[in-house]
């Protein structure tokens, strides 16, 4: 790299002593004095010290061998479900601890031995290597450019435009096959995100007991999780359905319900909201009965279940969807329709 292609005057002027080591002179007290002379270590002069280093290294390598034997012994001898109490760690798996420590020591001592060897017994004299500019010399550069032009000319690609253009066309089109092949990675969204298993007449089933519920089963202030009847965790597709249909039920004093629609869609003060947070979809799991606030544990979005489940804190963008509920002829809680809006996180087509 030469300085003639530095375009700006704002570069530091050629500086004293920065580039080539000049011998120290009294003209420039800042000049590079060159590499300091090599200083001998104790091991370089005293054979006894060198012997000591040798023994230390050998000891470390020996410890490594012993630790490997210890590793194998632990593997064979310790029952793999044995748990032991180790003071600051608490109850831990004995085999895991033994294997980890023996392996750790076996490896560490090899490393420590090698480093000690290098530091005390191998030459520590610093030497200088020259650097060469990364970029090619002007001659090489000119040669390569000329070779390339020659090659391009011989290929006649510049002259036979038809070949060039069709080739570019073909190369542009061919990756399309690859893109098309990705089509069956999954179905198109369609209206899948808008529907859940809920619809008119579906009974609300208690998540824990697997039984349908009557209004009297739900105490004021409690939080109950529910799923649609007929959805069993052994079913194929259970995970996908519960990811949308999971419901939470709470019972409020009807006077406490501030939102008119919420009151209309409730039954004897029981309201049913989607359990899936409208932020990015965590299930909501915490409920504070005094304030009627539901909290999402993921990013702390807080919803006021007495006021249309609107967001009162946190990053969620809209209220939790409410499910319209009532009771059937036998007095069991049932859904009166599917959710009116998509549950879970918002998306472009949600509207």
């Amino acid at each position: 790299m030469s300085s003639q292609d530095i375009p700006e005057e704002n570069l530091p002027a050629a500086q004293r002593g920065t580039h080539a080591p000049k011998p120290a002179d009294d003209k420039n007290p800042f000049a590079d004095p060159g590499l300091p002379p090599h200083e001998h270590r104790i091991q370089d002069i005293d054979e006894r010290a060198a012997k000591r280093s040798e023994r230390t290294v050998a000891l470390l390598f020996t410890v490594s061998m012993l630790a490997t034997i210890g590793f194998i012994a632990s593997f064979v001898a310790i029952p793999h479900d044995k748990s032991i109490y180790v003071f600051p760690l608490g109850h831990i798996n004995a085999m895991n601890l033994a294997l980890g420590l023996t392996l750790g020591v076996a490896l560490f001592t090899i490393g420590a031995g090698a480093v000690h060897w290098a530091r005390t017994l191998m030459s520590d004299e610093e030497v200088a290597d020259e650097r060469h500019p990364i970029e090619a010399s002007p001659e090489v550069r000119a040669k390569v450019h000329a070779d390339f032009k020659q090659g391009a000319k011989e290929s006649v690609i510049g002259r036979r435009k038809l070949i060039r253009n069709t080739m570019l066309g073909a190369l542009t089109l061919v990756p399309l096959s690859g893109v098309v092949l990705l089509r069956d990675l999954g179905p198109l969204p369609g209206t899948k995100l808008r529907h859940t298993l809920w619809n008119k007449g579906k009974l609300l089933v208690n998540m824990n007991t697997n039984e349908p519920m009557r209004p009297s089963d739900i105490a004021v202030g409690s939080l109950t999780f529910a799923k649609p009847e007929g959805l069993d965790e052994h079913d194929h597709g259970f995970q996908n359905e519960i990811a949308k249909a999971a419901l939470m039920l709470i019972r409020l004093e009807p006077e406490a319900i501030k939102d008119k629609r919420e009151l209309e869609w409730s039954h004897e003060g029981i309201v049913a909201y989607s359990k899936i947070c409208t932020h990015v979809g965590c299930p909501i799991s915490l409920y504070e009965q005094q304030t009627h606030h539901a909290l999402c544990p993921c990013h702390q979005s807080t919803f006021d279940l007495a006021d249309g489940a609107r967001v009162i804190f946190g990053p969620a963008g809209h209220a939790l969807p409410q499910l319209r509920i009532g009771v059937n002829d036998e007095g069991y809680l049932e859904a009166l329709s599917d959710f009116e809006e998509p549950v879970g996180p918002a998306f472009w087509e949600r509207g």
């Binding site: 590079d32 060159g34 031995g113 990364i134 799923k227 963008g317 087509e349």
Partner: protein, 545 residues
């Protein structure tokens, strides 16, 4: 040289066996030419150069342990009932992926250790890359000719984040499943194509039955394959460019001072691999990471409180937590700014640091090679910018654990969130100003040291009663080291009227550049280093005192 006479002694087997093998290989691979250039290659020594080695070694450890895990892990989301040796889970429904991870932890002897080494090594790998990247940044090691290697390193960091994310999603436990749900929710927020990407990635609706198998091939094949290529390229370039070094006696921009690859560097670096591996193995034996058995299998309607991703995803988590939940509805569409904006900021924030070398070289207009590292203080604006970036990153990391911070320090979550929101914008500015001042202060101190010597700590009483501290003059080595750095002058736009009095158009980019240049190298941004004249005047002046 390859005459029959020369080969005869070899075939008679007089040369040692190792030499004969090497000769054989050289005849086919030409290894001697390679070795000639590299066997005694010089490597400078500095503690901060070990950071890159930590990354390399943890990467190797991850690959070794990862291959072991593939022997036992079943990347399938088929639901099965558990009947293994971990009693509390008996009879539970779970995916095969989760079950096989339980088996690795409880039924394969040493399996738990390898799982934990794999996970710990991943955590250390990413932490190592972050710190290594900062070392390169603050010493200016990214300057020409190393910009491409900076990009390689940056890509490794970003791909490492995604490899880690796909990795800890594989066991399909409640914690990682929640993270996957988060990702799916974030994908849904992308305008126009979000729902399509989500359907294609998950093979339908969330969670579906495909993502573990898909993440698996991404995690063990696609991303590590690309990363391996980048690591090899990164190392080839380090060899090819030769290592940078700090200024010092005998060290110039045209040489590299240190110790040869064989034996010293090889012993130290090779030994260091075992040190890193040993420490990680011991940590994996002592400290449990990701105990999936106490978390439970994933169910989209269940969640564990205090859900936290691995640290390297904390920054993204923080952005999502701090952003207000803005949503805009129009013409039957929804723009989910509350989630999409953090996604965009995440990308931009990383892009800034990736492109920084090109910004700086544009401002300086410097096209020369740089092999001598800057001390951070001697590049105050760059250093201040870097500290500002790290500050924003750290504030978001705190934001990612806002609930933990809140409960730990008994603060309201609201307060922590507002601190993070304001801090993300104000923190970097404050950090920038303070860092720049500190750098300038350190430059002044260096100048002082050069001109007046080092404070010796010895107090002397002058005849008239005044106390002074004796200053020891610096050696020439020290003088050189403290004055070896270059100082740019800030660029001027130049006269806007040419010699004929014609108004010259100044491009807007030129103006911007001059402005940036001034803030980088203007009088407020660096202390002119001592000149020889100043030095001589003061040192000769001393005699007259």
């Amino acid at each position: 040289m390859s005459t029959a006479a020369n080969e005869a002694p070899r075939s008679r087997g007089k040369a040692p066996a190792g030499e004969r093998v090497a000769d054989w290989a050289d005849g086919r691979l030409g290894i001697y030419s390679l070795a000639k250039a590299n066997m005694r290659k010089i490597f400078p020594d500095h503690w901060s150069f070990m950071l890159g080695e930590i990354c390399l070694y943890s990467f190797i450890i991850i690959i070794l342990t990862g291959v072991y895990l593939t022997l036992f892990f079943h990347p399938s989301m088929n639901e099965v009932e558990y009947h293994g040796s971990y009693v509390p889970m008996q009879g539970q429904l779970m995916s095969e992926a989760y079950k096989s991870t339980l088996d690795i932890s409880f039924d394969v002897r040493g399996g738990l250790l390898i799982r934990q080494i794999h996970h710990w090594a991943a955590i250390i790998f990413l932490a190592g890359m972050f710190v290594h990247m900062m070392r390169v940044f603050f010493t200016g090691a990214f300057r020409k000719p190393r910009e491409i290697n900076w990009l390689f390193g940056f890509l490794l960091f970003v791909l490492g984040m995604f490899t880690g994310f796909t990795g800890y999603s594989l066991p399909d436990d409640l914690l990682s499943g929640t993270g996957v749900r988060f990702t799916q929710g974030a994908i849904l927020s992308v305008p126009i194509v979000g729902t399509y990407i989500s359907m294609f990635l998950f093979g339908g609706e969330f969670p579906g039955t495909d993502f573990v198998a898909r993440f698996y091939s991404i995690h063990i094949l696609l991303l590590p394959g690309i990363m391996l290529g980048l690591v090899v390229g990164h190392l080839i370039l380090v060899f090819y460019h030769k290592h940078t070094q700090f200024a010092g006696p005998g060290k110039t921009n045209k040489n590299v001072v240190g110790m040869p690859l064989l034996p010293v560097y090889m012993a130290k670096a090779g030994g260091f691999f075992f040190l890193v591996f040993g420490v990680i193995a011991a940590i994996a034996g002592i400290a449990s990471v990701n105990p999936i058995w106490s978390i439970g299998p994933y169910r989209p309607d269940q969640v564990s409180t205090g859900a936290q991703p691995d640290w390297y995803m904390g920054f993204a988590e923080g952005l999502v937590r701090a952003m207000p939940g803005w949503e805009i509805n129009f013409w039957g569409h929804t723009l989910v700014l509350g989630v999409f904006v953090p996604l965009v900021i995440f990308g931009l924030f990383l892009a800034i640091i990736a492109l920084y070398p090109f910004i700086e070289s544009w401002v300086t207009g410097d096209k020369r090679e740089h092999h001598i590292l800057d001390r951070p203080r001697n590049a105050p604006t760059r250093t201040a910018f870097g500290v500002a970036w790290v500050t924003a990153y750290m504030i978001m990391l705190i934001g990612g654990g806002n609930d933990i911070v809140a409960t730990h320090f008994h603060l309201s979550i609201n307060a922590v969130t507002w601190f993070v929101r304001i801090g993300f914008f104000a923190g970097p500015v404050i950090a920038f100003v303070i860092t720049k001042r500190i750098c300038l202060g350190l430059q002044r101190r260096d100048k002082e040291k050069v001109l007046h010597g080092r404070e010796s700590g010895i107090i002397k009483r002058l005849p008239h009663g005044e106390f002074i501290e004796v200053h020891e003059p610096l050696s020439q080595e020290q003088l050189h080291t403290l004055t070896a750095h270059e100082q740019y002058k800030s660029a001027e736009i130049g006269p806007t009227v040419d010699e004929n009095g014609v108004q010259r158009k100044v491009k807007r980019t030129d103006k911007l550049r001059a402005k940036l240049s001034k803030s980088y190298y203007g009088p407020e941004s660096q202390i002119p280093k001592p000149t020889v004249e100043e030095y001589k005047e003061i040192t000769s002046g001393h005699g007259h005192h």
